[in-house]
């Protein structure tokens, strides 16, 4: 072998055999490829938009939307702007996502623990649940729930409980607190938040005392009492001061020739179907994650806990589950992301989620811009879940070596 000329050596080694240099070269090459690809995709898109005269830009955001939105939790009127309508859509999606995540987690943990039950029936039922809901496409499940809800009685034959709860194939209505005056309501909500913080502080203090002295500190009772007393006092003070109680209970009631429900809170059929579908589907995945997490905790932990005389429930709650959490959290977060993104199927069952509203917007505004906004919104929501997950994950990770 001929030795390389001096110019081709670095630290006495030919450059093509120098590990450091090869690594750098690969890095630079891949960097260039990535940048070139991104530039190519983007210029291709912009070029295509210009070639075909596809309207783009974001000036439409301040125009009036003038289109109906079926279900909205923020007050909405057809004279509101596109931007506000998008916010309405984001809120709708966020509500389904948050409610769905809580319900799916609760159901998933329940099913996952049942799967490990020593009771044969319970364990097999959980298995059947998991295998069924995990293996049927979500859209199919949504249509299944949609047709189930359609089979509920019509609006005039609603199932009524105590003249306040109505269930029909149009949705479920129940009494709901509504603010009589927004300022008063907001002030009280602020005070209520302070009351909850005070309750939490009391809980910590009592719990620490219990730990240190061994005497019962009744932390739950004390903390709830504190929060409720502060909440009630501020409520009364505000009511006397303004002559208005912060919230009234609005009771739903059928009105008009079509008997549609007015007042209270109504979860319309679309929301019920979408939420049920998402929760049942995602819970099956969460159940498997929980099962895997619990099984990842060494058997010795359970045996030691049992040997110390802890009940099976206590073993799960205080020994196994906290350790399992470290394994559970990361994949759990990705299920939260899935649930949030899957809520975009809402349009199939008449729920006005972000995608549903945005797709309608393409009728009167540039589609490319709108889809860029939708992507950004979902990205922001997903990143929020990741952030929450990461913060929680950091809190529960092993401390020290």
């Amino acid at each position: 072998m001929v030795s390389a000329p001096r110019i081709l050596t670095y630290q006495g080694i030919p450059v093509w055999r120098h590990v450091q240099i090869i690594q750098w070269a690969v890095q630079i090459m891949s960097g260039i490829v990535v940048v070139a690809l991104v530039v190519w995709f983007f210029s291709n898109m912009v070029g295509a938009i210009q070639d075909r005269d596809i309207p783009s830009g974001f000036s439409f955001l301040s125009r009036e939307y003038q289109t109906p939105i079926g279900e909205h939790f923020l007050p909405y009127d057809s004279s509101d702007t596109f931007l506000y309508a998008l916010m309405v859509g984001i809120t709708n999606t966020a509500i389904v996502a948050v409610a769905g995540v809580f319900l799916a987690t609760a159901l998933g943990i329940f099913i996952g623990v049942s799967r490990l039950s020593t009771n044969w029936i319970v364990s097999k039922l959980a298995m059947v649940y998991i295998e069924f809901f995990r293996n049927v496409p979500l859209l199919v499940q949504l249509f299944f729930w949609f047709y189930i809800v359609l089979e509920l009685p019509g609006i005039r034959e609603s199932v009524v409980v105590a003249d306040a709860f109505y269930l029909s194939n149009r949705g479920f209505s129940m009494p709901w607190p509504t603010p009589t005056d927004y300022t008063v309501a907001l002030i009280w909500l602020g005070l209520a938040a302070i009351a909850i913080v005070a309750g939490a502080l009391v809980y910590r203090r009592q719990a620490r005392m219990e730990e240190q002295t061994g005497r019962s500190g009744y932390p739950l009772i004390y903390s709830f009492a504190t929060a409720i007393v502060i909440g009630a006092i501020t409520w009364l003070v505000l009511s006397f001061a303004t002559g208005n109680s912060p919230f009234d209970i609005s009771v739903p009631e059928p009105q008009g020739r079509f008997g549609n429900i007015v007042g209270g809170f109504t979860a319309r059929a679309g929301l019920m179907v979408l939420l049920t579908g998402l929760v049942m589907y995602t819970a099956s995945f969460i159940a498997e994650i929980v099962r895997a997490g619990i099984q990842s905790v060494g058997r010795g932990q359970t045996e030691a806990a049992r040997a110390l005389g802890l009940s099976p429930m206590n073993t799960l709650r205080n020994v196994t589950f906290p350790q399992a959490l470290r394994v559970i959290i990361p994949p759990l977060i990705s299920q939260f992301l899935n649930l949030t993104k899957n809520s975009s199927l809402g349009g199939a069952v008449a729920y006005s989620d972000l995608t549903n509203i945005a797709v309608t917007m393409t009728q009167t505004a540039p589609a490319v811009s709108i889809f860029m906004l939708i992507m950004a919104s979902y990205l922001a929501m997903s990143l929020t879940w990741s952030l929450i997950g990461n913060i929680y994950n950091r809190r529960i990770r092993f401390v020290g070596g």
């Binding site: 109906p68 949609f146 149009r170």
Partner: protein
């Protein structure tokens, strides 16, 4: 080892310059080099921009030539040539509304919209079956035609100014429709103005949503909507009583009523709350293709106006100059300039029939039985006289 060496020769060539002659500040040099590289790329970018501008100029030149009529028709990249080479026409349509776009017992795409696509395929490729139907949802219509991935969009698509500006070019109104309401007969509602506080089912991503909002706002009805992505779900929801009313174009209401569990229990209200001219749309940016589609639609309409239907297409001169010109037996109406065959009308009328044939087959007595006589969708006049009005609005630019 030799192989590894060969593999990395290309890579190392790139970093050669960075390395220098064994000095230790390689990283710094590298950094500087990256910067240089960046600048080089910027320069390249600028060069590309310049090139782009040059191309733009070329295009403008071409446009000028086109305007001056010096460019031969059917340039290299024209859609007409693309379609001829491909051997079939790609249309975006639907298969869920009987009469307009449905599926027959043998699984073929049939319907008024589908027949318009077949007519175009006959004119351009010479075969009514040389079509490819892309099934799309209502909401996908805009992006589909904007991207130019289909040659024609015929999916009960209403002609509006903003769509014409943003989606593509509307060739010709082939059906005059209007939005109406269907309600249960036992609700006692006889007029749409009585729909106060009602829940109305509607399809996602259609003008019907916008019209419904306008109607509700104007009359203070406070209508609540339930928006569904696909038509089957809307019909199921309305049928099960999830909505008090179902709004759509009247023609589609008539078609979809047949799919309800008991059609006789439902009535279509007399109010029409919108103008809905329906017709084929072509992608922006190809005038020749736009003209071809307009001409094919005109052939269908004039076929009926001149009394030439599918079963009596003459192949020899008739002596009637209008008929002879239409059929390419004498004279011309621009076939050559459009890149179509001289006898394009004969082929089209033989293959799919005239406007009336298509209407009768799909929407008339042999279809969903929508009355035509006396309505807007009758011809403006009947052959052979041009001054005996039929009272309709179906009319096209004269073929001469």
């Amino acid at each position: 080892m030799k192989r590894t060496l060969l593999l990395f020769v290309a890579l190392s060539a790139l970093v050669l310059v960075l390395v220098g002659c064994g000095d230790t500040s390689a990283l710094e040099t590298e950094n500087a080099n990256l910067k240089a590289e960046n600048e080089a790329m910027q320069a390249e970018n600028e060069a590309m921009q310049a090139q782009n501008e040059a191309m733009q100029a070329q295009i403008e030149e071409g446009m000028a030539m086109l305007a001056a009529g010096t460019l031969p028709t059917g340039g290299e990249g024209s859609r007409l040539n693309t379609v001829k080479e491909r051997g079939r026409v790609i249309c975006a349509s639907r298969d869920d509304v009987p009469g307009y776009g449905g599926i027959d017992a043998d699984g073929n795409n049939v319907g008024f919209d589908i027949d318009l696509c077949r007519a175009l395929a006959t004119a351009v490729v010479g075969d009514p079956n040389a079509i490819e139907i892309r099934l799309i949802s209502a909401a996908e219509r805009g992006p589909t035609i904007q991207s130019g991935e289909v040659d024609m969009l015929v999916r009960t698509v209403t002609w509006t100014a903003s769509r014409d500006a943003g989606w593509g070019n509307y060739a010709q109104t082939m059906f005059y429709d209007g939005q109406g309401f269907m309600v249960r007969a036992d609700s006692g509602v006889t007029n749409a103005l009585e729909l106060e506080g009602a829940t109305v089912c509607v399809t996602l991503g259609t003008t019907t949503e916008l019209n419904l909002q306008d109607f509700s706002d104007q009359n203070g009805l406070g209508i609540t909507v339930a928006t569904f992505e696909d038509t089957d779900a809307v019909v199921a929801a309305y049928d099960a009583g999830q909505c008090d009313s179902f709004t759509n174009d009247n023609s589609q209401l008539a078609a979809l009523r047949t799919a309800l569990s008991n059609p006789a229990d439902h009535v279509i209200l007399p109010n029409t709350i919108s103008e809905e001219p329906l017709g084929p749309v072509v992608p922006h940016g190809d005038d020749q293709w736009f003209d071809v589609v307009k001409t094919v639609m005109a052939i269908l309409i004039y076929g009926e106006a001149y009394g030439v239907s599918q079963d009596n297409v003459p192949s020899a001169e008739t002596g009637n100059t209008k008929v002879d010109r239409l059929l390419g037996l004498s004279g011309a109406f621009g076939q050559e300039e459009l890149g179509l065959s001289q006898t394009v009308a004969q082929d089209v009328l033989n293959a799919v029939g005239n406007y009336g044939d298509i209407y009768d087959r799909n929407l008339g007595p042999s279809g969903i039985n929508l009355p035509r006589e006396g309505g807007r969708n009758a011809l403006w006049a009947n052959a052979p006289c041009t001054d005996c009005p039929k009272g309709g609005q179906i009319y096209a630019a004269p073929l001469r």
